[in-house]
């Protein structure tokens, strides 16, 4: 039952992501600012920006804080993990894709439910398909998530090696190496 809920949630994220994408990037609200500071993006992003101007770096998101649309007690909600990771690490992900591998892309493939053995193929795929995954300078993190997943589905070598079931099992704290019972 819980797996089903999560699956729906994941599909829901992608759906809203596509809708958000139609209106331009910035709708997902789960970026670095949201992760560090809860939801108050406008004020907090200014503070975040100010850190590079050598001012203090407050972190107003302790375990005590309740639940935002993105995190609960500092832990990213399972159904937001892929989007949150892509938003916060957008640039590192892009450059890992261009160079055909790297730590950020490896972690992202784990969130997408890829088997370890499929990683080299996944890396090469993102390098080869970079231009179709991110078709313009306006392409944002959600386009990246959607684009990579679309490519996985149309790649015979990856579509069974990177699955939502494995991603959900991981979110539920189960070892991904264990085969699923159903």
């Amino acid at each position: 039952m819980r797996k089903l809920t999560l699956l729906f949630a994941l599909v829901g994220v992608l759906f809203t992501a596509k809708a958000a994408n139609a209106q331009g990037y910035g709708m997902a609200g789960c970026g670095l600012g949201a992760l560090l500071f809860g939801n108050d993006n406008t004020v907090m992003m200014q503070i975040l920006a100010s850190t590079t101007n050598n001012i203090l770096f407050p972190q107003t998101f302790p375990i005590t804080s309740g639940t935002s649309n993105c995190t609960a007690g500092g832990v990213v909600k399972a159904e937001r993990e892929q989007a949150a990771f892509a938003e916060v690490n957008f640039q590192d992900l892009k450059r890992n894709m261009a160079s055909g591998g790297g730590e950020f892309l490896a972690s992202f493939s784990t969130l997408l439910g890829c088997e370890d053995s499929a990683k080299p193929v996944f890396f090469k795929m993102t390098q080869d398909k970079l231009e179709s995954i991110l078709p313009s300078t306006k392409s944002g993190p959600i386009d990246l998530v959607v684009g990579v997943k679309t490519q996985i589905k149309s790649d015979a070598r990856l579509k069974n090696a990177c699955t939502d079931e494995r991603a959900i099992a991981r979110a539920e704290g189960k070892p991904m190496k264990v085969a699923l019972s159903h």
């Binding site: 203090l56 609960a72 832990v75 160079s99 972690s107 991904m176």
Partner: protein, 671 residues
């Protein structure tokens, strides 16, 4: 086996089997009254009889520390941490009994409401520990009414949180010092807990970070409140990738990771305890009860047999806590480095030849629609190196000032990434550079020095000095930034042999020189700040005929300055800097000018090392005073330091101040 023995075995087996159902399902309605869970009076009695409140496990869970008068006091300052109210803060026994009683509270109406969580869900580490110590899962006494029984409560919020973290192993992470933020000058430590799935993706791990819950952006307010402990400190949880972005990319700080050898159970107890701290806060003191101190208390919760906190007095420097953790036999399993964006960029650039550096610059500097730089005849792998370095440079130059990069950046970025993708070459990883040194290799932070010397007047003298923190340009550079001088709490006394008087030589409340070298790609600003007291020897107060001798030569003052620094020479081992400065001071030394002076001027320095043990520094500083005592000050220094074994060094220096000159020697020890 004799007959009596086998009868015993049969009876024992029968008894054991009879007890089984209650073991399998504690709290469930058992077949008879003999398996009901224990009642509160029984447990209180049991806890007293085995003196549970006096155990170290309980003390670390409640953050109790011995007071000067032999009592106990908890360092938790928020009242939500104690069930016994005020008494709980000072009485481990009262708190333990009140905690036990609270665990018997009836189920809450809505277990999903974070405001009304059941005590068992708010304090899962205490609950698990008490259950174990009091053997609560075992058979209880008969006949108690259901309301008096201890029943495991559902904790859905806690379960979701725990599952998200799924902690199995823990790593202590050290972020190197960041001089440009007062909160980060001494470095920072936090914990990273690795997922139970063992998939080897540290970026996806979670971080437990202790930080002041700061509500001000005013640096002065921050400093005052930080020193007096009026910020609440709390534990924060967030994904490690957020911290990597913050430190490696935004602040260009290298990270050092020390994997600890805790068992799964120990890690889980620690994580559950971190959850418990959501009910409270700890007054945050910049110098002692700071981020690193509170992390040590978490490590003690994981393994109460560790005694880490008591190794520290009034001052906890993050790098010292790394050394203390490394001192525990077998506690650190593995060490790894994660160089920052700036470190990586510098390393990549160093591997390019002159033509390749120019090509990388062209990718970044020329308009995005210009023809790409010509690299004909260069292998695809070398081109990948160039493009990787160019991307580092582009990103570093764009900076992190806004959440959304500029359109120009995006165009350049796209052009670079597509070109890199088209090469089809695998990642060109570079090894962590050797110049970023492990923090534990640095000298200890407390420094004592004894020395002596002579001057043209008044003659020979002896000196004694103590420095609280941290590092100057002549201290052994391993483990510290080569480009920074940071001292706080430095005091030097001097005994003049001729006048047989003890006098204050200098006080540095704060002395920072941040000399960040510039090169073609890195354009950083260097700066200096000083606050303290000194002798105005340039005014001739050491002369025999002066009326400003002894303590009358003193003044208190401050300096601020800014400028540039550069590295050059073999392996870039020479550092030079030039700073413009403004300087102000007041004291008896300036009696000729209303007891104060204000001026502007400049300073230059050259620092280098020749071999691991020998370091030298040459400096000159000229200040033209505009107000008050207006005689100018011209000072020079030539100093060198020789390491002579572990934690010891010998220094020789010659200093001049206008017409005054002295030569001195110091034996320096680090503790």
């Amino acid at each position: 086996m004799d007959r009596r023995g086998s009868v015993f075995v049969v009876v024992w087996a029968a008894l054991w089997l009879a007890a089984l159902p209650s073991r399998a399902a504690p709290g469930a309605p058992g077949p008879g009254p003999a398996v009901a869970p224990p009642t509160l009076p029984t447990l209180l009695q049991r806890a007293r009889s085995i003196r549970l409140p006096e155990t170290r496990d309980w003390q670390v869970l409640l953050h109790y520390r011995r007071t000067r008068f032999g009592g106990w006091k908890s360092e938790a300052d928020g009242p939500g941490f104690f069930f016994a109210g005020e008494a709980g803060k000072t009485s481990p026994a009262a708190e333990l009994e009140a905690t036990l009683a609270a665990f018997f509270q009836p189920a809450v109406a809505d277990p999903l409401n974070p405001q009304t969580m059941h005590p068992q869900c708010r304090f899962p580490a205490r609950y698990a520990w008490l259950k174990r110590e009091l053997a609560i899962d075992g058979p209880g006494e008969g006949g108690a009414p259901a309301a008096a029984q201890l029943i495991d409560q559902p904790c859905p919020l806690l379960d979701t949180w725990r599952t998200g973290i799924s902690a199995e192993a823990v790593t202590l992470v050290y972020a190197t010092a960041f001089l440009n933020s007062p909160a980060s000058m001494y470095g920072h430590t936090f914990l990273r807990v690795s997922r139970a799935t063992g998939e080897g993706n540290p970026l996806l791990d979670y971080v437990i970070n202790f930080a002041a819950d700061v509500d001000t952006r005013n640096g002065l307010v921050y400093a005052v409140r930080g020193l007096t402990g009026s910020f609440p400190g709390r534990f924060f949880v967030m994904p490690y990738y957020v911290k990597v972005q913050e430190y490696s990319n935004m602040e260009s700080r290298d990270l050092w990771e020390y994997e600890l050898s805790f068992s799964r159970e120990q890690v889980q107890r620690m994580v559950l305890h971190a959850w418990e701290t959501r009910t409270t806060y700890f007054d945050y003191f910049f110098f002692d009860e700071n981020c690193s101190y509170e992390l040590l208390t978490l490590l003690e919760v994981a393994d109460p047999s560790l005694h880490l906190v008591e190794r520290f007095g009034g001052r906890v420097v993050p790098a010292d806590t790394i050394r203390v953790v490394l001192d525990q036999p077998g506690l650190v399993r593995h060490r790894a480095a994660r160089p920052s964006l700036a470190s990586t960029m510098t390393e990549r650039k160093a591997r390019l030849d002159w033509r390749e550096v120019r090509a990388a610059e062209a990718w970044v500097d020329q308009p995005a629609d210009a023809a790409p730089p010509d690299l004909t005849g260069v292998s695809a792998a070398r081109q990948a190196h160039v493009l990787d370095a160019a991307y580092d440079y582009l990103r570093y130059r764009e900076g992190f000032k806004s959440a959304e990069p500029s359109d120009d950046f995006k165009k350049h970025e796209r052009r670079l990434l597509l070109a890199r993708g088209r090469l089809g070459v695998p990642p060109q990883e570079i090894a962590a550079r050797s110049a970023i040194d492990a923090p534990e290799r640095g000298h200890a932070t407390l420094r004592l020095a004894v020395g002596g010397g002579f001057s043209d007047a008044p003659g020979s003298f002896e000196t004694l000095s103590i420095r609280g923190t941290l590092h100057d340009f002549l201290d052994p550079s391993g483990g510290y930034s080569d480009n920074a001088h940071l001292e706080m709490g430095h005091l030097r006394g001097r005994f003049d042999n001729q006048s047989r008087r003890l006098r204050l030589d200098r006080v540095d409340l704060l002395h920072i020189v941040s000399a960040e070298p510039v090169d073609r790609w890195v354009h950083s600003i260097s700066w200096k700040a000083w606050l303290g007291a000194e002798n105005a020897r340039e005014l001739g107060c050491e002369r025999r005929d002066s009326d400003r001798r002894g303590w009358r030569c003193l003044y208190a003052g401050g300096t601020v300055g800014g400028g540039v620094a550069a590295r050059f020479g073999p392996q870039r081992r020479l550092l030079t800097f030039a700073l413009g400065e403004s300087d102000a001071g007041a004291g008896p030394a300036f009696a000729a000018g209303d007891n104060f002076r204000v001026g502007v001027g400049g300073e230059g320095g050259l620092i280098g090392d020749a071999g691991p043990l020998w370091r030298f520094q040459i400096g000159a500083r000229y200040i033209y005073y505009l107000l008050g005592e207006t005689r100018p000050s011209f000072r020079t220094t030539v100093a060198q330091s020789f390491g002579i074994g572990r934690g010891l060094a010998l220094r020789f220096s010659v200093e001049t101040a206008n017409t005054y000159a002295q030569a001195s020697t110091e034996l320096v020890g680090y503790f």
